[in-house]
Amino acid sequence: MAATEIDVKYVAHLARLTLSPEEEQKIGAQLGNILGYIEKLRELDVSEVQPTAHAVPLINVMRPDEVRPSLPTEEALRNAPAKANGLFLVPKIVE
């Protein structure tokens, strides 16, 4: 698969990742190479195979529905880059 087939700018937007034009070009070329290698998976017939999401399937894992102590607000906010009034501070979202 050729490098040009990946729209790195669009994928970077989906990932909320700002890239420089140089990064876009470099990553595009490298991913073209990697995706070319990954193409080998097409050699296999997987039409009758069930997908594996987890190697050790556990079903309906429950814990007791009990109130337990959790991280105090002050602790949860301690690493925040901006905070006010016990809340995370973010740029304005609505006018």
């Binding site: 990946i6 994928v11 997908p51 987890h54 050790v56």
Partner: protein, 491 residues
């Protein structure tokens, strides 16, 4: 020197009050002061906190209450991806800024309860993405056997610190070989437990269906002791499995007569270094002499493992790393609106390999490509897992090289991500299949002298047999007694 002891040697001495926990901790700190400038295994360490933990343990011993603390006084270094309350956590990335963990990971709670001294932040590839520790935002770690070479990765700091006797053991994490490969390249023991054996609570997730925490140690007995402490179900991690935890160290009898050992024919591939191949063949002969039966087996989908892994792992990573957005923690780069704030923060905070994998993972999950890449990879994952389950109907463990080569030079592969990915060829399948594996020393290359690792793979929750085989081999050799230290102090 006390820092050179194994945990089993040390804890006996501490309990008998022959040495204090403080003396051991100080001995490790002294070693770090002497040599860490040459290898850079530690990103940081809090000496005052470590010594305070040691003093508290010495008080426990003096008070006669040291029972049920199997790791009493053992200084254990921690990979910079696990939360230790009150200590920094950066995942060797700039994006976490001055983050300080507000709680202990479950494995850290368990180590502390077992009497270990938990200290230091060990270097790694950023967010555990890499095989050389060159992707750390804070500088490369160097291999203690040859400081012009990489220590392996992503847990390169953990492997180098244990090999250089800077701590008695260390914790690392293994998503595609990140414990076993650096253990092989630095000449120590590295164990990846079965998926679900050890709680992942407090581990910063890379690929949640593949990640496991495990120990780096100086011998197999210590790995067994640590695994017993780390293992067990945890309500904070719903993927931890409620299987009883055996007394692993008790199973190390040295007796492996009649056990069946599988040799996968697909692992004798081109690119396998002749000296590595010879060391592994010699180890197989040694296992036969110890009474094991060797059987050739086939894992027919081996050739598809690396491609499968780089779809599954990057897809999961692209979702897991969405949380690093500059809102709740870490470094923030402002923007005119939230979307540009996210993009700017992530663009400035993540390194090249992390960006590459986020883009690849986002791409394989994106509309129109999901079935062709992600779903197909999940199906091939089923085939790879079935290969192993079928093989384990015939054999008790599987033996392979851990890495196709010994440690390579710093910079040798850093511009070619695909070549770097292919260096994980022997370790990746284990994570996809969810089984357990260990790497232990099985020889050295001639010139330069570099460690070679033997990988033993076991059935799901088959750590007892895995460790029994590894221990029997180890005790019949001298490889694990060899030290790189002379090389470092002579400089």
């Amino acid at each position: 020197m006390l820092n050179q002891l194994t945990i089993s040697e040390l804890t006996a001495k501490v309990a008998r009050k022959e040495v204090s926990a403080r003396e051991v901790m100080q001995s490790c700190l002294d070693q770090i002061g002497r040599i860490d400038g040459q290898i850079h295994a530690f990103l940081s360490y809090d000496a005052a906190d470590a010594l305070a933990q040691a003093d508290a343990l010495d008080k426990v011993v003096a008070g006669g209450a040291a029972a049920n603390r199997p790791l009493l006084g053992a200084p254990i270094g921690i990979k910079d991806v696990l939360a230790v309350k009150g200590q920094p956590l950066n995942c060797a990335s700039k994006i976490l800024g001055k983050f300080v963990s507000p709680y202990d990971a479950t494995v850290i709670q368990r180590l502390k309860a077992a009497g270990a001294i938990v200290f230091g932040r060990l270097n790694m590839d950023e967010f555990a993405m890499g095989s050389s520790t060159e992707n750390s935002a804070f500088g490369v770690t160097r291999n203690p056997w040859d400081t012009s070479r990489i220590p392996g990765g992503s847990s390169g700091g953990s492997a180098a610190a244990v090999a250089a006797d800077e701590c008695l053991a260390a914790l690392g994490t293994d998503t595609g070989g990140s414990i076993r490969q650096p253990a092989a390249l630095c000449g120590c023991v590295g164990l990846k437990p079965t998926y679900g054996r050890v709680s992942r609570y407090g581990l910063v997730a890379f690929a949640s269906s593949l990640d496991q925490i495990g120990p780096f140690t100086k011998d197999v007995r210590d790995a067994a002791m640590l695994l017993e402490v780390l293992s067990g179900v945890d309500h904070a991690d719903s993927t931890s499995v409620p299987q009883p935890v055996p007394h692993y160290a008790a199973g190390l009898t040295g007796e492996i007569k009649g056990l069946k050992i599988g040799l996968p024919k697909e692992y004798m591939v081109g690119g396998l270094d002749p000296e590595v191949n010879q060391a592994v063949q010699n180890a197989v002969k040694q296992l036969q002499q110890l009474g094991a039966e060797v059987i050739e087996i086939s894992l027919p989908h081996t050739d598809y493992a690396v491609a499968t892994y780089y779809i599954v792992a990057t897809a999961e990573a692209s979702a897991n790393l969405a949380r690093f957005d500059g809102i709740r923690y870490g470094a923030r780069v402002e923007g005119s609106d939230p979307i540009s704030l996210y993009g700017n923060t992530r663009g400035a905070g993540f390194g090249a390999e992390v960006k590459r994998r986020i883009i690849l993972g986002t791409y394989v999950l994106s509309s129109g490509y999901y079935d062709a890449y992600y779903l197909r990879a999940q199906k091939v994952r089923t085939l790879i897992r079935q290969d192993f389950l079928k093989a384990f109907e015939k054999v008790d463990v599987i033996v392979t090289p851990t890495s196709p080569t010994a440690a390579f030079k710093i910079g040798e592969k850093s511009d070619d991500p695909l070549q770097m990915y292919l260096s994980d060829i022997f370790t990746i399948s284990c994570n996809l299949a969810g089984i357990c594996g260990v790497s232990l020393p099985c020889g050295f290359t001639a010139n330069p002298k570099l460690p070679i690792g033997l990988q033993v793979l076991g059935k799901p929750f088959g750590e007892e047999t895995l460790l029994k085989v590894a221990h029997a081999y180890e005790q019949s050799t001298r490889w694990h007694k060899e030290k790189p230290i002379g090389k470092l102090t002579r400089r």
